[in-house]
Amino acid sequence: MKRVGVFLCWCGSNISSAVDLDQVAEQTALLPHVVHVEQYKYLCSDPGQETVRKAIKEHALNRVVIAACSPRMHERTFRRAVGSVGLNPHLMEIANIREQCSWVHPDKVTSTPVAVDLVRTAVAKAVKDIPLEPSYVGIEKRALVVGGGIAGIQAALDIADSGYEVVLVEREPTIGGRMAQLDKTFPTLDCSSCILTPKMVEAGQDPRIRLLTYAEVESLSGYIGNFEARIRMKARSVDLDRCTGCGDCWNKCPYRSPGEFDLGLGKRKAIYLPFPQAVPNKPVLDRATCAYFQKDGKCQVCKKVCAPGAIDFEQQDEILEERFGAVVVATGFDLWDHGRYGEYGAGQHPDVISSLEFERLVSASGPTDGKIKRPSDGKLPERVVFIQCVGSRDEAKGVPYCSKVCCMYTAKHAILLKEKIPSSQSYVFYIDVRAAGKNYEEFYRRATVEYGAQYIRGRVSRIYPRGDSLVVVGEDTLLGQKVEVEADLVVLATAVVSRSDAPQVAQKLGFSYDQHGFFTEAHPKLAPVETNTAGIFLAGACQGPKDIPDTVAQAGAAAAKVVRLFAKDQLETEPTVARVDRARCAGCEWCRPICPYKAIEMEAVTERVGSGQVARRVAKVNPSLCHGCGACSVACRSGAMNLLGFSNEQVWAEVEALCL
C-alpha cells in the first residue's frame, strides 16, 4: 500500500505570499494514496527536516513529496533527510512551487491552480517511485598513458609522482614525440631538447613508470576503474635487457636510408637510434630497410659486432595484457601534407618545405648540423618566404580551423633565420597574426622590428620556379596591389591536423572524435580533459592544436583527474541509471549506438522455453558507465530499456496527472 506524505513549504513568504497553500493542501489531501499533508515555514531548515522525519514515522509514510523550491536546490538535502529515517532516499519527489510557480506567478488566484497541478504531478510520480540503490566498483590504481610526447611524459610523471604506477606506451622506438624534433621554443627561445631531455630521462628512470616503446595499444575494454588493455610490443629485433646502447651496431651497419626523425632530410642506418638523446637509448632494427630481412638473410654485421649479443633477428611481436584504472590519451598530431596545394608546387619543388622540415634544418642536431642549407643545392638561402595558413583556414583544400601555433613559430623561424644568416631577408605572408599568449605579441614584434622580418598581409596565390629560385606571387592586401618575391627557399606553415589513424584509435579506446579527427572532450568548458568515456582523459594536441605550454598544462590536469580517481577506494555510481527488462528485450541493439558512454553491451542469456533451454542475446547496462541520460529508453521501442528515477511509468503518470 502506497502511503504518500506531502509537505508544503512556505519558504518564509516566498511561496506562501503568492500561493494559497491552504487550498493546495485541501486539494492534495483528496488525491489517491495521500495520507498526510502538512505545511511548514522552512522545510529545508533542521526543524523543517525533522518535521518530515517525524511524519514519516508517525504516519508510516513510504513515499514523500516535498513542495518547495527547485529540486536543483534541495533534492540532496531532502533525500538525505528521508534516508536518515530508513526510507529509501529515492522514494521522495519534489514539486517546484517556488522558482516555477510563486516567483513567476505572483497572483494567488492564478498561481494556486498551478501549484495544485505541480503537487498532484509529483504525487503521481512518487507513487511510481521504487527504491534505488547505488552500485560500487573497485579501482585498479594503475594508469595507462598512450603516447610518449611531452603530453604523455608530463602526465606520466605527475601520476607517478603521486605514488601510482604508470605504463607509458609509445609507438616509436623512443619517447620524446614532436617536441624532440623542434629546435628552439617560443617565446623564450629555450632549446627544445634542453628542456625536454631531462623529463625524458626522468620518465625513463622513475621506478613507477614502465616505458613500453615501439609498442601500440591493440584494444581496450572494460570501464572506469577496470580497464583491460592489450598492448602489442612490436618486434624490435633488439633485446632491450642485453643492449647497452654502445652504438657499435649502428656505426657498423652498412645500409643507409632517409631518416624519419629528420623527415627524410638526412639518413639513418637500418639499425639506428632515432636521435642521440633517445630514451630508451637503445636502437631499433628497421626490417623494411635491413638487408638481412630484405635481401639474402646474410649481412648480420650488427649481430656480429654486438658484444652483449642483443641482436635478435627472430624476435616476434608480443602481446601484453594489463589492467588499468584510468587512461590518459596523448597521441599528438600530424602536419598537413602540402602536396595538395598544386599552386605551391604540389610538394614537388625541393625548396618549398614545411615548417617542421625547417625546424630540422635549423636544429643543431639536425641533418645539416644546424646550418640552414636549402635542400635542392645546399645553398644558404638569402631570401626566405614564410607562408602562413597553408591548409589551415582553408575549407576548400585543407581544414577550416586555425592551427594556433603557426603564427608564433613562424616569428621564431624568422628570428632564427636572421640569427643564423645575418645577411638574409625573410618575408612572411599572413592573413592575421594571432599572438594571444603571455609574451607572444612582444615576441612577434621582435621578429618584425629587431629582426626585420617583412610581414605582408595576404595569401600567396602561386609559387613557380624561375631559374634556380622561386617566384612567390601574392597580394599585399594592405596596399591593394599584387606583389612578387623571388625567393631561395619557401617555408610553408602547414596546418596542424590529427593523426591519420586518430579515428581508429578513438574507436579502439572507445570515445568520440570530431569531424577533423581530434578527440572530443566531454565538455568544452567544464570537462576539457575528460572524454565522454569515464576514466579516459585527454592531453595535448590529439584534442586540438596546442602549443607546448597548453599541452603541459593539460597533461597536468589530466594527471590530476587520474590521481583524484585513484584517491578513492571505490566508485559509487548514481542509482538513476538505465535498466533492461531482459524478458522484453529482443536484442536488436538499437540502444547501443545511441549511448554516448558505451554503457550498453550485449550478453547472452539462457531461458527455458517449453522443456528446452534457448540462448539469446539481450542488452545489459553497465551502471558504472551509465550517466542516466535516458536516450536509450526512447530508442527502445518495446520499452524493455527503462531509466530508473525517470521511468516510462513515472513520466507517463506525470503526463496523465498534469493533464487532468
Binding site: R72, V114, D117, C629, L643, N648
Partner: protein, 144 residues
C-alpha cells in the same frame, strides 16, 4: 469560461541541466510569464519519448514544449542531437495527423536563458490562444 478567455495548457518537458535550470533562473529573476505551462523534469531532452508528447495532446494539452541544451552543449554530449532528429520528424508527423505543428515546439534553452524561457512561454501561449482549443478545429471540420 469562453473560448477566448480560456488559458491554453502547455506541457513542458525540460532537460534538467539547461532548460529546467533556465526556467528556475526565470524564477530567481522574478521574470513573470503566463500560467499556461506545467513542467515535467527529465534528465535530457533525449529522454522525451514522442509517445509522451502525443499522450499530452490527447489528454487535452493545447501545446507541448520540449526544451533542452543547445546542440553541442548537451550535458550528455549527444542527447539533444538525437532529440533534434527525432522531433524534426515527429513535428511533421503530428502535423500530418492533424495536430497543427505550431502546437509543438522544441527549443534550445540554456541555463542562463531565463528570459528566453519566459519569452518562449509567452509566445507559445499567445499563438495557442489564437489557434484556439485543439478539438474545436477538428470538430468543426468533422461537422461539414
Amino acid at each position: 469560461m469562453s473560448v477566448a478567455e480560456r488559458e491554453p495548457k502547455i506541457v513542458g518537458f525540460l532537460c534538467n541541466w539547461c532548460s529546467y535550470a533556465g526556467a528556475d533562473l526565470a524564477g530567481t529573476s522574478r521574470t513573470s510569464y503566463p500560467t499556461s505551462v506545467r513542467v515535467i523534469r527529465v534528465p535530457c531532452s533525449g529522454r522525451v519519448n514522442p509517445q509522451f508528447v502525443l499522450r499530452a495532446f490527447q489528454l487535452g494539452a493545447d501545446g507541448v514544449l520540449v526544451a533542452g541544451c543547445h546542440p553541442g552543449d548537451c550535458h550528455y554530449s549527444t542527447g539533444n542531437y538525437f532529440t533534434r532528429r527525432r522531433f524534426l520528424l515527429v513535428k511533421r508527423f503530428l502535423d500530418y495527423l492533424g495536430i497543427d505543428q505550431r502546437r509543438f515546439r522544441l527549443r534550445w534553452i540554456s541555463a542562463s536563458e531565463g528570459p528566453k524561457f519566459a519569452e518562449t512561454i509567452r509566445e507559445m501561449t499567445e499563438e495557442l490562444r489564437q489557434l484556439g482549443p485543439r478539438d474545436a478545429a477538428a470538430v468543426e471540420a468533422h461537422a461539414e
